[in-house]
């Protein structure tokens, strides 16, 4: 079956050790986690994981169910890119002498809508948020200028395009008993 990039959104109780259990489901199915983000959610006490992985649909369905089955996982859902709004952020630490030397560098930074957060005589820090492809493209271009001292990018974060809020609805139902 064809492999696609899936984004899993998992809501769980905020409990130490749960992330371990979630990632173990991927390991057992021999899926690589491309990116992973953990954060609070809009719901009090509920944690939210955003995980991306390349998989076929059959496997991702099973993985999602096995994650949802874990005690203290509230819900797990999987999405393709056209079902979510997504964003990542990358930071580039760039050599200031190189930046001053080659005007194409700041031009490139502007062209990508990236922003310089901080600059001193030694380095400048550039922040770019966007989707993976844009960030990789910027990185490739900056790499060509041989000016990047450090690079880091975050995991994908995503919210659903759906107008229904399944987790909230489920929790409301449970609270009502």
């Amino acid at each position: 079956m064809e492999k696609k990039l899936y984004t899993l959104i998992v809501h769980s109780e905020n409990i130490a050790g749960l992330l371990n259990q979630i990632t173990a489901v991927f390991t057992r199915r021999q899926l690589n986690i491309e990116s992973l983000n953990a954060s609070a959610s809009s719901i009090k006490g509920i944690h939210r994981y955003t995980i991306t992985t390349w998989s076929d649909e059959d496997t991702i369905i099973k993985v999602t169910k096995q994650i949802e089955k874990k005690i203290d996982v509230v819900q797990a859902h999987y999405f393709l890119d056209d079902e979510i709004f997504m964003q990542e952020v990358a930071l580039f630490k760039i050599s200031t002498p190189k930046l001053l030397e080659n005007p194409l560098i700041s031009k490139t930074i502007r062209r990508y809508g990236a922003r310089i957060m901080e600059a001193n005589a030694v380095y400048a820090v550039v922040e770019k948020s966007g989707v993976t492809d844009e960030i990789i493209a910027l990185r490739t271009e900056l790499d060509a200028f041989d000016c990047v001292l450090q690079y880091v990018s975050s995991g994908r974060i995503a919210v659903t395009r759906d107008t229904a809020e399944h987790v909230n609805e489920y929790l409301e139902k449970i609270n009502k008993g």
Partner: protein, 564 residues
């Protein structure tokens, strides 16, 4: 205020615990000390190895339907239970393992007998939790029993830090309410019941696969009502063998690798497969791409993650099968499938002539496993609980025992754990004190738990032990014969004198070598109060047949070694 250890006692009593299988050690001593004052509140069974404690808890749980409890120390005590935890996970057995742990301020320091038990058991347990404060005991114990016993049951591990055992707490038992992170029983979609009923009404050749879920849901009556109304033949999984009594017109035997020919062949001829509380294990299905491709599939299960895991279901009916079977029975029309049911007969006849007859009524040659199993079953009025170890002894006793009551088979299905049988049988005698418990073991498996003779000696647990001694790791020997060119690598085994071992433990015993001694020896065993070891000298190169070779299609079974 009471100590955490005493709080644990109160919590266990609150949960209705009547038996604890345990083994003490440094990090759990405060709890054992508290137990000293509760010897009249619940039975305290000292096993001889912590693996035995876990298996005994499993045997107890499966015989009684209640949650089994075992109590061990940290480090090696805890790791010794791991096999039992994994076994309980694969076979959905409700147990709670309570293990000592070093005090919270030592955690993470590689303190004496510290292991990361939660880390080790998380992937093989339903829930695993570290109790670090005495205040958490009430909630953690209540939740442990709730999670272990509800929904699809499974093992729960409580890692109990020593400071929580000795710290003081104002204890009030807790009960677990609705939880947002754990749905024990999924909602049943009424539409799925309608769709399933429509498929059932339209089916001409329906076949039902009965799994342990039916026992776990206490739904044997509902199963019977359903199949009788719809006139559907039934194949049982290994763990589901006692879901429909022997002799029932619709019971067509066991599924899977060493199951009966009829239900395996018919799996690939039916037009509708109704799977109830079973998970399409590969030992049941054989090669998946050759499994029931012609049939529509209805899958009734309590665990949404089982749906479409191995076999695609046209209709999935989620829920507790006690409820969903009853709903289905109400929704379907009465039907008759006489011709279809009769079409099993030629396969039954073929298996009878080519396999069963020789297995249970051999006229000459050394004693065989099947005849022993059938004779013991009959001598018990087909009412005993069969506990098995793993190997040929397991398959043969499961095949030739007859089951007339529910919860009559306790065997390690998913994990296939040698050494399971003896301690599980000990546990079963505590879980079902009114029933006869017969455990069949091989000469390999008995030695993996033989230390539990000590537990039997001490408690007097009335375990009827049948040792089928073929001087081989027989199941492996069979595979070597069939698939590895008869190269018997590390399977012949020199055995000790088991009569002397039994004698050393004060357990009455008898060795049977000749066929004409068998019946009276079995009678002696069953008539003896308390435990008994019956060793039977078994033909060394017997094979379990029929057999779906590993990776083969479910409907193509070898009837003897020649078919290989």
């Amino acid at each position: 205020m009471i100590t955490g250890s005493e709080a644990l006692m109160q919590a266990l009593i609150h949960e209705g615990v009547d038996t604890v299988f345990g083994y003490p050690g440094g990090s759990i001593m405060p709890v054992f000390d508290a137990m000293y004052d509760h010897q009249n509140d619940f039975k305290q069974v000292l096993v001889r190895h912590e693996q035995g404690a876990a298996h005994a808890a499993q045997g107890y749980a499966r015989a009684s339907g209640k949650v089994g409890v075992c109590l061990v120390t940290s480090g090696p005590g805890a790791t010794n239970t791991i096999t039992g935890v994994a076994d309980a996970m694969l076979d959905s057995t409700p147990i709670v393992v309570i293990a000592g742990q070093v005090a919270a301020n030592f955690l993470g320091t590689d303190a004496f007998q510290e292991v990361d038990l939660v880390g080790i058991t998380q992937p093989i347990s339903k829930w695993s939790y570290q109790v670090r404060r005495p205040e958490d005991i009430a909630w953690a114990v209540a939740r442990a029993f709730h999670i272990a016993g509800s929904g699809r049951p499974g093992p729960v591990v409580l890692d109990f830090a020593k400071n929580a055992q000795v710290g003081m707490v104002d204890f009030k038992p807790a009960t677990i309410d609705v939880e947002r992170g754990y749905i024990a029983i999924p909602e049943t979609d009424p539409k799925s019941v309608e769709e399933a009923a429509a498929l059932i009404n339209a089916a001409e050749r329906p076949l039902l696969l009965a799994g342990q879920g039916i026992e776990l849901s206490n739904a044997t009556e509902e199963l019977r009502a359903f199949v009788e109304k719809a006139d559907i033949p039934v194949g049982c999984t290994l763990l589901g063998l006692s879901t429909l009594p022997h002799g029932h017109r619709l019971r067509k035997g066991m599924l899977g690798m060493h199951g009966n020919l009829g239900p395996n062949v018919k799996t690939n001829e039916c037009d509708l497969l109704i799977a109830v509380g079973m998970r399409f294990d590969d030992r049941v299905t054989g090669r998946l791409d050759a499994y029931a491709k012609q049939a529509k599939v209805i899958h009734l299960d309590i665990d949404p993650a089982e749906i479409n895991k191995n076999v695609y279901a046209d209709v999935a009916v989620l829920g507790d099968c006690k409820d969903t079977l009853a709903r289905l029975t109400a929704a379907i029309d009465e039907a008759q499938h006489t011709e279809w049911i009769e079409s099993f007969a030629p396969y039954e006849e073929k298996e009878w002539n080519e396999v069963i007859r020789h297995a249970i009524y051999p006229e000459e040659g050394p004693l065989r496993m099947g005849e022993v199993a059938r004779a013991v079953s009959e001598a018990s009025g087909n009412k005993a609980i069969l506990v098995t170890d793993v190997g040929q002894n397991q398959m043969m006793s499961a095949r030739y025992f007859q089951y007339t009551q529910k919860r009559s088979i306790i065997t390690s299905g998913g994990l296939g754990t040698m050494g399971f049988g003896l301690p599980a049988a000990v546990g079963a005698t505590f879980g079902a004190p009114d029933r006869t418990v017969c455990v069949f073991m091989g000469d390999g498996g008995i030695q993996m738990s033989i230390q539990e003779f000590g537990t039997i000696m001490e408690t007097g647990a009335p375990v009827k032990m049948i040792l089928l001694n073929n001087n081989y790791l027989g199941n492996v020997r069979q595979w070597q014969e069939l698939f590895f060119g008869k190269r018997y690598s590390c399977t012949p085994m020199l055995n000790p004198d088991y009569m002397k071992i039994a004698e050393a433990y004060g357990i009455p015993s008898q060795l049977v070598v000749e066929r004409d001694q068998l019946a009276s020896a079995i009678d002696t065993m069953l008539a003896t109060d308390g435990p008994f070891l019956l060793e039977v000298a078994i033909m060394e190169n017997e094979n379990v047949m029929p057999m779906t070779p590993p990776g083969g299609a479910v409907n193509v079974m070898m009837m003897n070694a020649m078919d290989c």
